[in-house]
Amino acid sequence: MSKLLMKGNEAIARAAMLGGCEAFFGYPITPQNELIETMSHVMPANHRVFVQAESEVAAINMVYGAAGAGGRVMTSSSSVGIALKQEGISYCAGAELPCVIVSVSRSGPGLGGILPAQSDYHQSVYGGGNGDYRVIVLAPASVQEAVDDVGKAIQLAEKYRNPAMVLLDGAIAQMMASVVLPTQPLPRVDTTSWAATGDFKTRGTRNVINSLYLDPAKLYAHNQHLQAKYREIAKNEALLVDHHPDHHDGAIIAYGTSAKIAIGAAQRLKEEYGIKVKCIQLRTLWPFPKQALREAIKDMSFALVAEMSMGQLFQDVLAFTRSDTVIGYVGKAGGEIITSDDIVNGYLQQMGGEQIEHSV
C-alpha cells in the first residue's frame, strides 16, 4: 500500500468517504476547515451527500435525521462548534443513533483561540447535553491513528447504535504526515429492525426514531437499557497503549498530541537521567481504560499526567486509579503545544514528592 503525504483534516475526510460514509453535514470552523472542504468535493464526486448546514445546530440535527434513516453519517467541528452540537448529540444518544462526530479542538474557554489544546476533554467525555448518556471517545495521536480511528468510530457507532467521537487537536488536523488510507468500505450492520426507512408496507411494523418518553416507568427502563449497553462498551472497548513495556520506574499518562510528546520525553528520561519511565497512551477516553491503567501503574511510586489542559485528565486519573501511586500533573492550555522539556522537568520536579498547583 502506498504512503501519501496528507494533511490530518484531509486524511480524515478521505478515510471517512473511503470507509463508506454516506452523508456529511458540517459547518466551517478553524482548525477543521480542510475536513469539510475536502468532504465538499469527495462526497458529491462519489455520489454521497454533502451539506454545508446553516449552523452547527442544524448540522447535528441533519445527522439525527440521516442516521435515523439508517445512513452512515458524520459531522465535524471544533470546540465552540461542538459546544453548540451538544443538544443534538444527547438526542442521538437517546434515540440510539449511530453517527460519527470528529472534534478538532482548539483552545478555550469561550471563543478562545484557534491554536491546539486538549481542553475539551470534559466536553467530549462527559458531554454538555442533558441526561444519562455516553459518547464513545477515541483519541488519536497522529494522522494515521486519526484515519484508523475514523474507521473504528464508524464500526463502534454501528455496533452499539451510539454516537462515537474522534477527538483530536488542531496540531494533528493541521499537520501533514505519511499515511495509508483504507481501500475498502467497512461492512454494514443490518439496520432494518430500527431504521426509519419508509417501508412500513412491506415490513408490516413501524420503526420510530424517538427520544421522548413521557411515561416515567418507560423512560427508566430505557435508561436501564442504555446503562446496560454502556457497561458492555466499557467492558469491551477501553484501550490504552503501553509504549515502554520494559520500563517500570514510573509512568507518564497522556493522550493525543501530549502522548506523542510524552513518548519522546520518556526516551529522554532514560537516556539523560537513567530513569525508565513508560509512556501510557490512552486510546479511548470513554470508556476510560481504568482497569488497565490501574494495573500498569500499581507498583510505581509516581506517575505524571501530561495534558494540554488544566488538569481535566489529571482529575480522572486520580479518581479512577485509586492507588498509593502519587499522581503528578504537567500541562498548559492556550494554544502552545506541550514540549518534552515541560514533561521531563515536570517529572523530575515532582517525582520527589513536590506538590505543584493545578486545577481545582
Partner: protein, 173 residues
C-alpha cells in the same frame, strides 16, 4: 538505522517555505521514512515567521515537534532570530543572505532567481540547496517535484526544475 532529520523551514508567507517543507517530506516518503510536516497556522502566519517543522524518522513514534531540530532553512530575520538557537550545528543552517546579514551557508535567493528570470521559482532554488545539504541525490528532488507539480503548466515545471538544479549546484561560501 537512518539518522532522524528534523528540519525547520521559516520565512515570510509567500516565500514558499511551506512548499519546500512538503517537498522534503515527499523525499522522506521515497526514502522510506515516517514523515510529519507541521505548519504554523493562525496568528503566527501573520507575524513574519510562517514556518513548518518537518520530521523524517524511521520510527512512527517520533514526536512531530521538538526542541532538538537538526536542520533549518531560514528566509528572514525574524525566522533567524527565532529558530537559529534551536540548531546545534551551524553548517546545517541555510539562510537567505539578501535578508539575513549573518555568516551562514546560503545565498541571496531573490537576486539569484531574478538573474535567471526564475522569480516565481525562488523557493525551488532553496529546495535544491536543502536536498544537497541533506546529502540526497539530485534525481530524488526531481522525482518528487514531478509528483508534486503534476498539473502545473509546462513552463512552470521547467522553471521549477531549472531553479532546483541552480540551487543543487550552487556553491555556498
Amino acid at each position: 538505522m537512518k539518522p532522524t532529520i528534523k528540519l525547520i523551514c521559516a520565512g515570510f508567507g509567500g516565500q514558499g517555505v511551506l512548499s519546500v517543507g512538503q517537498l522534503v517530506g515527499l523525499c522522506g516518503i521515497e526514502l522510506g521514512y515516517d514523515v510529519s510536516w507541521m505548519p504554523s497556522y493562525g496568528p503566527e502566519m501573520r507575524g513574519g515567521t510562517a514556518n513548518c517543522h518537518v520530521v523524517l524518522s524511521e520510527s512512527s513514534q517520533s514526536p512531530f515537534i521538538g526542541q532538538d531540530m537538526t536542520h533549518a532553512l531560514l528566509m528572514n530575520d525574524a525566522a533567524f532570530n527565532k529558530f537559529k538557537p534551536l540548531i546545534k550545528k551551524p553548517e546545517n543552517v541555510i539562510i537567505h543572505t539578501g535578508l539575513i546579514h549573518q555568516d551562514y551557508p546560503g545565498c541571496d535567493f531573490s537576486v539569484l532567481a531574478h538573474e535567471h528570470h526564475l522569480d516565481k521559482s525562488m523557493n525551488m532554488i532553496a529546495f535544491g540547496m536543502v536536498v544537497k545539504s541533506l546529502g540526497w541525490e539530485q534525481s530524488l528532488g526531481l522525482k518528487v517535484m514531478k509528483k508534486k507539480f503534476k498539473g502545473l503548466s509546462d513552463e512552470m515545471i521547467f522553471n521549477n526544475e531549472k531553479a532546483f538544479l541552480l540551487g543543487f549546484t550552487y556553491e555556498s561560501v
